[in-house]
């Protein structure tokens, strides 16, 4: 079960933005350089994030992005759902309904998806920022 590169990079970029924006906006190429992520990936991700209302853009040569809401109100689950499309650990197989498949869909798979969504939605972007500030190893910190 793998999370897409798009999702992993997007989350890292948002954490970077939350840490470095200092109330203002940050240019994507700065995030790209700090996080060693391709600018192209970031442009795609931030376009999606902007449409979902998680970030706002400032146009122009000195432009960039900033968070649309405080980091303490942005759930990690929201971010992942925006970038991945859903928070499903397992997609319910609609084809060929058998009694066992139906039993699992209504039971274990539903529970699994709910538990995963709950776990991701109980974490906020601000929690990740705090973790980073507490555990970042000196100059060379990683997100």
């Amino acid at each position: 079960m793998k999370l897409s590169t798009k999702c992993r990079y997007g989350l890292r970029a948002l954490i970077d933005l939350a840490i470095y924006s200092g109330g203002g906006h940050v240019a994507l190429h700065e995030i790209a350089a700090r996080q060693n992520i391709s600018l192209k990936y970031l442009e795609q991700d931030f376009s999606v994030l902007r449409r979902a209302g998680l970030v706002k853009s400032i146009k122009g040569a000195q432009g960039g992005y900033l968070l649309a809401r405080p980091a303490s109100t942005i759930r990690v689950g929201e971010i992942i759902e925006t970038l991945e499309g859903d928070l499903l650990v397992i997609e319910i197989d609609e084809s060929e309904e058998t009694d066992i498949r139906s039993f699992l869909s209504k039971g274990l798979w539903t529970t699994l998806n709910q538990n995963a969504a709950h776990a991701l939605n109980s974490l906020y972007l601000s929690d990740l920022v705090e973790f980073h500030l507490a555990h970042g190893s000196g100059e060379m910190f990683y997100i």
Binding site: M1, R8, V89, G107, L108, L112, L120, H132
Partner: protein, 147 residues
């Protein structure tokens, strides 16, 4: 974040095996009919399950497969892990050596939490419990219709 069809089909197949009379080995053909999963796919799945010693193959006439242990000792997590390459959302969760950032990586915190939640859910339910719940549900439905 996905459990692929291989993982979910493996669990369905194991429930089907657990539902059969445990004195007899069950053939892939029988499981295929029960679960509507192709023989070919089941062969791949059973091969993985056999490797992880969750089922044993019985040769000869009346041969097939049987659970290797008591269904109560096999968890949903055991089965899905046997079928899937990995159920962790990213490699570094289980193998910190794979990435130089592991120690201070914030996103790893997220993935670890997700991984723990998934493992907790899947490791707390046994094949026996699933079988019992399935049988109970089936009985309840037929009771409902027989009134």
């Amino acid at each position: 974040m996905r459990i692929s069809t291989k993982g979910s089909y493996a669990l369905e197949a194991m429930i089907a095996v657990a539902l059969t009379d445990t004195l007899h080995a069950v053939s892939i053909r029988e499981i295929s009919e029960r679960t509507k999963i192709s023989d070919k796919y089941l062969e791949q799945i059973f091969s993985s399950l056999k490797k992880k010693k969750l089922i044993v193959g019985i040769r000869g006439a009346g041969g097939g497969y049987r659970l290797a242990h008591d269904a109560a000792k096999i968890t949903a997590g055991d089965i899905i892990r046997a079928a899937e390459i990995s159920i962790s959302p990213v490699v570094c969760v289980n193998d910190p050596e794979s990435c130089p950032r592991s120690e201070s990586c914030v996103t790893r915190v997220v993935w670890s939490r997700l991984d723990n939640t998934i493992s907790e859910t899947l490791d707390h339910i046994s094949l026996q419990q699933l079988k019992d719940a399935f049988v109970l549900e089936r009985e309840n439905i037929s009771d409902y219709f027989s009134i």
